[in-house]
């Protein structure tokens, strides 16, 4: 393995585990689980190595793996990493590993489950590494199908409905994206492939960003080219984020999905939307981004406030966490739409903090569901007396999610507010108010589930097991650590983001 193939190894190692798992006899459940965990651990270790050799001061693409893939259509295989994607890659390998450990409780069709799980990981990592637009789209879609099966086969009572809804929503967005990709391709300037062949058009994202200006491309269906392409791409990504009003697939998918899949969904999949908007919309179509920024901020604000209110009305713990995801991903949009240093940094960092906090929340919701077989908030009470460790963990996660100083959620939210305030004053104030609603629903939930009189039915619930600790503690530790000392993560992104900012101010 050389440095140039490191990314390919990270992306495709999970794939290598699939034949191994499928070859194992299905009775050897524990062995299958261990093989899957090891297969997930390798990308994690490679990710750590990637973090160590990554040069944060370099704003360009590093560790590129680049060759021609489909010559007849000028499509290249192009993986690379920069300050924007490295955080997402690290998040993906970490969350995938934790979700894999959390999957040890799965009993049904184990081999199929882990095979799909590993395929999903490859799809996610590939999306964050791909720098050829076609390749990006392929990975984006590759991730879709395993997700569909993981929800649809291993999910809850309404799994078929939730799975197909997830699939059709996302596919609608990605097909719009596909058309936008083709339109961008045919309007791109001549370029050269990596081996020097001159070509009339290009899928190379870096070339699309640096060497093309779509502001003056011919109109499309009577609309300005850059604007309509921007909107097509934005919808594609925003469905994944998700934003109000395209969010309705999310609560269904989360409630029906098995716990580890919810973890992946909240921890990584939602981030693809934000990543896509920053990488593609901001990078390739800066003029249209400026034009659309107020609307983007408004969508962000509406998502924050609306979802927070919806949370207040939830009776199911998992649904509450799902809607809180919608609310917190709204911060990402609000932050990046401001074009200020703090705003964009905060938005990207919010993706990371939410990627740590929401998996922890879903794991915790899974813990109580495994024990009580339901998640009705009203159905519990006084759990703090029986499960002190669990209560402590969920308290930490709730506090981090509502933005308590000293935990990482606070830093990203403050940065977003600081960045957005000078640009969208009223909106920022209203969004900041929503934090109070957030505090309200979390505290109220704690009060109903953990305080008060102990529900006699649950007086024998055991506290956390070692496996659960193994998944929860690393996340909790990172949440605290990055809350006190966020520099390791920040230093990776800031230089790159300054690069993006210059496109708008410079």
């Amino acid at each position: 393995m050389t440095e140039s193939t490191l990314l390919s190894w990270i992306v495709f190692t999970p794939l290598l585990g699939i034949p191994v798992i499928l070859a194992l006899p299905k009775e050897k459940k524990q062995l299958i689980r261990y093989v899957a965990a090891i297969t997930c651990a390798i990308p994690l270790l490679l990710g750590v190595y990637l973090y160590l050799i990554f040069d944060p001061s370099n704003t360009g693409i590093q560790l590129a793996h680049h060759f021609v893939w489909i010559r007849s259509f000028h499509i290249e295989y192009y993986l690379g990493v920069d300050g924007l994607s490295i955080l997402m890659i690290l998040l993906t390998v970490l969350i995938s590993f934790i979700a894999c450990i959390a999957s040890f409780g799965i009993e049904k069709y184990l081999r199929g489950y882990f095979a799909l799980f590993l395929l999903l990981e490859t799809g996610m990592l590939g999306t964050f590494c791909a720098l050829d637009f076609f390749l990006f789209y392929v990975f984006w879609e590759v991730m879709l199908l395993p997700m569909y099966f993981l929800i649809g086969i291993w999910g809850g009572p309404r799994k078929e409905y939730a799975a197909i809804k997830f699939f059709l929503y996302t596919l609608f967005g990605s097909l719009l994206m596909l058309l936008a990709i083709i339109a961008l391709y045919f309007n791109s300037n001549p370029a050269t492939l990596v081996d020097g062949t001159p070509v009339p058009h290009t899928f190379n994202m870096i070339k699309l960003i640096t060497e093309n200006d779509f502001a003056n491309a011919p109109a499309l269906l009577g609309f300005a080219f850059s604007k309509i392409v921007f909107i097509a791409l934005f919808i594609g990504f925003a469905i994944k984020v998700p934003i109000v009003p395209f969010h309705t697939w999310l609560p269904d998918a989360h409630v029906e999905a098995p716990t580890p899949i919810s973890v992946i969904l909240a921890g990584v999949l939602l981030k693809m939307g934000g990543y896509g908007i920053l990488r593609v919309n901001f990078g390739i179509l800066p003029e249209a981004t400026v034009w659309f920024a107020p609307a983007m901020a408004l969508i962000g604000g509406v998502s924050i406030v609306y979802a927070a209110f919806v949370c207040l009305a939830q009776k199911d713990l998992k649904k509450l966490i799902a809607y809180s995801s919608v609310s917190h991903m709204g911060f990402v949009l609000l932050g990046i739409a401001s074009f200020t240093e703090q705003g964009i940094t905060g938005g990207v960092f919010q993706m990371w903090t939410h990627g740590l906090i929401s998996p922890m929340l879903f794991l915790l919701a899974g813990v109580i569901y495994d024990r009580a077989h339901h998640r009705e908030i009203e159905g519990f009470g006084g759990l703090a007396y029986r499960m002190p460790e669990y209560t402590g963990a969920i308290g930490l996660a709730f506090m981090a999610s509502l933005g308590l100083p000293g935990l990482c959620g606070f830093i990203s939210e403050v940065l977003v507010f600081l960045g957005a305030f000078p640009v969208f004053r009223t909106l920022t104030i209203i969004s900041a108010m929503a934090v109070i609603i957030t505090a309200a629903y979390y505290l109220w939930t704690i009060q109903r589930m953990f305080l008060g009189k102990l529900n006699e039915k649950y007086k024998d619930l055991p506290d956390l097991t070692w496996r659960e600790r193994f998944t929860l503690y690393p996340l909790g530790a990172l949440i605290v650590l990055l809350g006190i000392y966020p520099a390791p993560a920040m230093s990776l992104i800031t230089d790159k983001l300054m690069n993006i900012l210059q496109m708008f101010h410079g």
Binding site: I70, I153, L179
Partner: protein, 484 residues
């Protein structure tokens, strides 16, 4: 005449000889050697592939009084049709045995049908095209009704026969009108005539109507809206392997002949047909996909799906650029792989009397028969156009062709139609994997059919991940249609 060259029609001769051999030897061997017909057919198709590859490729030279060409386009399809024949033979061996159908007749007809398709793609004369079409049609009428004691199969055959004769008549009438105008049925002469009149005056009405009728005749054959109504009934009633054959092979032969006529014979500045075919393409995709949504019979669902796929292929025809026509050839291969793969599996699962073809029959088989349900899933997601499969690459290039020609509305409508289609393909998957089975059932997988399924699935992924070779071959095959 010096241009009589039997090597130019070598694959067709091989197919016919083997067809006759099967027919002649069949009665002598009797009922106790069922696999003999299959073996002979397999040998015939395999030799025909070799023969097609041996045919000297020459774009400019015509044979048999200017009726036969050996250009790359014809060779591409001759190889494809023979390969389809191999797949059909292997896939239906066990089916014929299970349903106690006459094997010799079946395989002889398959060989003749294949020869007919070959004549459709190699002909450069309207009459030979028509004869090829009739050889194909008559063979498939009988194949559709080969289950003589089954009412649905009979209905299918009769319907197909009537609709087919009707469309042949329309086509022939068109040929007659063209002859009246151009005084020849040879493509070269017609093109010359068209170029001559085009220079000075309006194209004669006779000529225009003649072409209109020919296009309509082919539209019947490939089942595009509004000439598609016969397809679902015929496909549903026909024996399952034959449904696969009709939806793939005869459709592709129709498209190949249509492409040759549209791009080689028709004057290029005749825009009217483009507008009509754009409308037809949109309607075909939407009506096909929307009708498939509510089907509970998988054969019928795939019938509508194949209508929709004809709509996608029309995109390539109306875009009429290099991307588009190349994509059609690529898509023909991809579509053959995924549809034949799917039909082979459906054949295996169709049970003793070929009736277990509803969604209910597929409940819960996902984990009961993973060796069938996984390949079927692969074929279906390829039909749905999900990346890493050949179906995606094909759709991608077809849609790209439309965008390249700035037909944005067509591209948007096509993409949305593809989205609709995902729902019904995945519904089969939902039934297979997400519902509990009703009970155990006996399914026996014949090794020959197993091999077919495996190869189809592998090739779907291979061409989906590494399409360069096939795209290059397709591009070489259509170069003669592209006018700088």
């Amino acid at each position: 005449m010096s241009d009589i060259s039997f090597s130019a029609i070598l694959p067709e001769l091989i197919l016919c000889i083997f067809g006759i051999l099967v027919m002649v030897l069949g009665p002598f061997l009797g009922r106790n050697s069922r696999s003999f017909g299959g073996t002979l057919a397999l040998l015939g198709f395999a030799t025909s592939i070799v023969g097609a590859l041996l045919v000297p490729e020459s774009a400019g030279k015509l044979f048999f009084n200017g009726m036969v060409t050996t250009d790359a386009f014809s060779i591409f399809f001759r190889v494809l049709f023979a390969a389809i024949g191999v797949v059909m033979t292997l896939g239906s061996l066990n089916y014929l045995h299970r349903l106690k159908l006459p094997t010799f007749e079946y395989f002889a007809l398959l060989l003749f049908a294949s020869a007919g398709m070959n004549f459709m793609v190699l002909s450069t004369d309207l009459l030979l095209t028509f004869i090829g079409l009739e050889i194909l049609s008559i063979a498939t009428y009988v194949l559709a009704g080969i289950r003589r004691d089954d009412a649905a199969s009979n209905e299918s055959a009769i319907k197909y026969f009537f609709m087919g004769s009707f469309s042949s008549a329309i086509l022939l009438y068109g040929v007659a009108l063209i002859y009246g105008s151009a005084h020849s049925t040879s493509y070269q002469a017609i093109l010359k005539h068209a170029a001559a009149v085009n220079g000075q005056q309006q194209i004669p009405l006779l000529f225009l109507i003649g072409f209109g009728l020919i296009i309509v005749g082919f539209c019947f054959k490939v089942a595009v809206v509004p000439f598609q109504v016969w397809a679902p009934d015929v496909y549903e009633g026909a024996p399952t392997p034959i449904t696969g054959f009709l939806s793939v092979a005869s459709k592709m032969a129709g498209f190949a002949a249509l492409i040759r006529i549209l791009f080689q014979v028709l004057p290029h500045d005749l825009p009217q047909w483009v507008q009509l075919l754009v409308v037809s393409s949109i309607l075909t995709m939407w009506i096909g996909n929307l009708s498939a949504l509510t089907q509970t019979n998988i054969k019928r669902m795939l019938a509508y799906s194949s209508i929709a796929h004809a709509g996608y292929i029309l995109i390539g025809i109306v875009a009429a650029n290099q991307t588009g026509i190349t994509a059609i050839l690529y898509y023909a291969v991809a579509y053959a792989l995924m549809n034949l793969g799917a039909f082979t599996i459906i054949t295996i699962l169709s049970g003793r009397d070929d009736r277990r073809v509803t969604l209910e029959d597929y409940k819960g088989i996902g984990f009961q028969y993973p060796q069938l349900s996984f390949p079927l899933t692969i074929c279906l997601i390829s039909l749905a156009g999900i990346p890493t499969t050949a179906g995606f690459i094909g759709k991608f290039f077809l849609f790209s062709a439309a965008v390249e020609e700035k037909m944005y509305l067509l591209a948007v409508l096509a993409v949305l139609a593809a989205l609709v289609s995902v729902y019904y393909y995945l519904r089969v998957v939902v039934y297979m994997f997400m519902f509990e089975p009703d009970g155990k059932r006996e399914v026996r997988i014949h090794p020959a059919a197993g091999v077919v399924v495996l190869v189809c699935c592998l090739l779907i992924f291979w061409f989906g991940l590494f399409p360069t070779w096939l795209l290059e071959v397709s591009r070489q095959a259509v170069i003669l249609f592209l006018h700088p």
